[in-house]
């Protein structure tokens, strides 16, 4: 039986069950991720995005009455499923991961996962670490032996990303990867994520903001209150303004500009996510290009 890369069916999760502090985080979530796809998970905070990602990473496993999660075709609740294996192949970048660097130096931190999972021999560790740092957009020569604490916030976050890229995962789960970065840090990380998407790595990216997601994703799931309100291709979901409003989300400005132009009679097709592409289409529609 061939399943999607990731599939979630009727997933429920309650924090602190059977206490006065019980809080329902997921209320019947269905989701699917196909190979090579980049899925955006957008919704206000808290809407259950982080909890869902932790299920996909095998950190949480559903009880029999809480629904089903299949990752890489394996039921995570099945006794013969190695969650340890899943955590390497479907790696998770936590929210604000720069606060969770464990080792003093960059080299040792990136090597931590490689050692834990035993994916690299001791004498090729440094080579693998260098490769991962490069893919995360960092200069290995400059940062390899630095103390993580002496790097900037954006650099530390890319070190955290390198920690995960070093494991060569098949799917990347990113929990609000762009939040709290300064513009340069955000721009650099966005470039890194784009190049990873172009290399065909499947990703699930959670964010509270649509404008961060739009340049990266090809499908979108809108979450609010532990439920998926809409799930489909980027254009399908962005056309459902009622759903976006219900989730308290705003259309990105680039989208609104193109919609406004269209409603004023400019013959534009579906809005483009990329500013340069949008400009080209507008220019063409105006007959100046």
């Amino acid at each position: 039986m061939s399943r999607a890369l990731i599939e979630v069916k009727g997933l429920f999760h309650t924090y602190h069950p059977n206490t006065p502090f019980a809080r329902e985080a997921l209320r019947g979530v269905d989701l699917k991720l196909e190979s090579g796809q980049v899925l955006g998970l957008v919704g206000p905070s808290p809407s259950g995005k982080s909890t869902l990602l932790q299920y996909l990473n095998g950190l949480y496993v559903p009880q029999p009455d809480q629904g089903k999660v299949w990752v890489l075709g394996q039921d995570t609740a099945a006794p013969d499923t190695s969650l340890w294996e899943i955590r390497r192949r479907v790696a998770l970048l936590f929210q604000q991961p720069e606060q969770q660097l464990f080792e003093p130096t960059v080299l040792r931190d990136v090597a931590l996962g490689l050692r834990n999972f035993g994916v690299a021999l001791e004498d090729e560790l440094e080579k693998r670490v260098r490769e991962a740092l490069e893919r995360a957009g960092l200069d290995p020569e400059r940062v390899l032996r630095r103390y993580s604490r002496t790097l900037s916030g954006g650099e530390r976050r890319r070190v955290a990303l390198a920690c995960i890229l070093a494991l060569e995962p098949e799917v990347l789960l990113l929990d609000d990867p762009l939040s709290g970065l300064d513009p340069r840090g955000r721009w650099r990380l966005l470039g890194v994520l784009k190049s990873l998407a172009e290399r065909g790595i499947s990703m699930v990216i959670a964010s509270t903001r649509l404008d961060y997601l739009i340049p990266l994703v090809d499908s979108l799931a809108v979450m609010a209150d532990g439920r998926i309100l809409a799930f489909g291709s980027l254009h399908e979901v962005l056309n459902r303004e009622d759903v976006l409003r219900a989730a308290g989300l705003q259309l990105p400005e680039i989208w609104r500009v193109q919609q406004e132009l269209r409603s004023r009679g400019l013959p534009l097709g579906e809005p483009a996510a990329d500013p340069a592409e949008a400009a080209r289409r507008i220019a063409r529609a105006l007959g100046v290009a």
């Binding site: 924090y15 602190h16 059977n18 206490t19 006065p20 502090f21 932790q54 990473n57 950190l59 949480y60 340890w84 955590r87 390497r88 790696a91 998770l92 936590f94 991961p97 606060q99 969770q100 660097l101 464990f102 080792e103 931590l112 996962g113 834990n116 999972f117 920690c163 995960i164 494991l167």
Partner: protein, 277 residues
């Protein structure tokens, strides 16, 4: 697995509510609690203990906090209580030289006296747990610290830095759930990166705690620094002349509570003295 650490640190967490117990002045709560606990520690006997247990159960029902939740906190302690009882049965023989022997274990002698003493202790600790839970479940920590500070205020004249002590207590207790959450995040991050925290022998497991403890301490220092800055920014100087945001005032309800508790305590004392079992 120790994944959801914060779930186990629910004992003593304030559950906001509007019950009779919640509405009592925190000073009344502290004083009556002290009275009940000291009675429990001084008086001995099944009748007074069952009386106090019954009273604690009535209070629990009055507090409208889910009974299952409160009892769930007692569950991990059940083993300790059972072991305590067994120990008391086995090792207390020499205290009851004239009691007949139930059975022998090496040179130790189990007697009915030990069985009773153990049962009384288990009962006593259960009531103590219930009362303590009720206090911390129905009164916020800040409230309790403030109440304690007010009750002890005569000491301030002797130069005891009461305000500071109360503040230190409040902050320390307030940080327990925060640190539990922090630890939970670190544990998850480690597991996600392939650490096998729950495997290996004792030494291996202890070694694997180091990468958790070091970042935990770093984050404690960070938080402490933030807290200092926040207090400085609000010109906190503590100490004398500082008024309270919430002033306490005794209500008729507090008088009623005091009378009821005094009656229960008196009954426990009397039955403890008059019924020698």
């Amino acid at each position: 697995m120790m994944m959801e650490v914060s779930r186990y640190v629910t004992i003593g967490r304030y559950v906001p509510g509007d019950s009779v117990l919640h509405r009592l002045d925190p000073r009344t709560k502290l004083l009556t609690f002290g009275l009940l606990v000291s009675t429990l520690l001084v008086v001995k006997g099944y009748v007074p203990y069952l009386l106090l247990l019954g009273f604690a159960v009535v209070l629990l029902l009055l507090s409208r906090i889910p009974v299952r939740y409160v009892l769930a906190g007692l569950r991990p302690a059940l083993w300790v209580l059972a072991i305590l009882w067994v120990f008391q049965i086995i090792f207390s023989g020499s205290s009851y030289p004239d009691h007949p022997t139930l059975f022998r274990l090496g040179s130790w002698r189990a007697t009915w006296g030990g069985v009773h003493a153990g049962a009384l202790n288990v009962l006593r600790i259960s009531v103590l747990y219930l009362l303590t839970s009720l206090l911390t479940l129905t009164a916020g920590l800040v409230e309790l610290a403030d109440a304690g500070e007010m009750l002890l205020s005569p000491l301030a004249r002797l130069g005891v830095p009461l305000n500071e002590v109360a503040l230190v207590f409040t902050i320390a207790l307030r940080f327990v759930p925060t640190l539990a959450e922090e630890l939970e995040r670190l544990v998850k991050a480690q597991i996600s990166r392939g650490a096998r925290l729950d495997e290996g022998g004792f030494l291996g497991r202890a070694r694997r705690l180091i990468p958790l403890v070091v970042p935990l301490f770093l984050s404690i220092f960070d938080r402490a620094e933030d807290l200092i800055l926040a207090m400085e920014a609000r010109c906190y100087r503590g100490g004398r002349g500082r008024s309270k945001a919430v002033a306490f005032a005794f209500q008729p309800l507090d008088a009623l509570a005091a009378v009821v508790v005094l009656a229960v305590v008196a009954a426990a004392w009397l039955t403890g003295l008059m019924l020698p079992f």
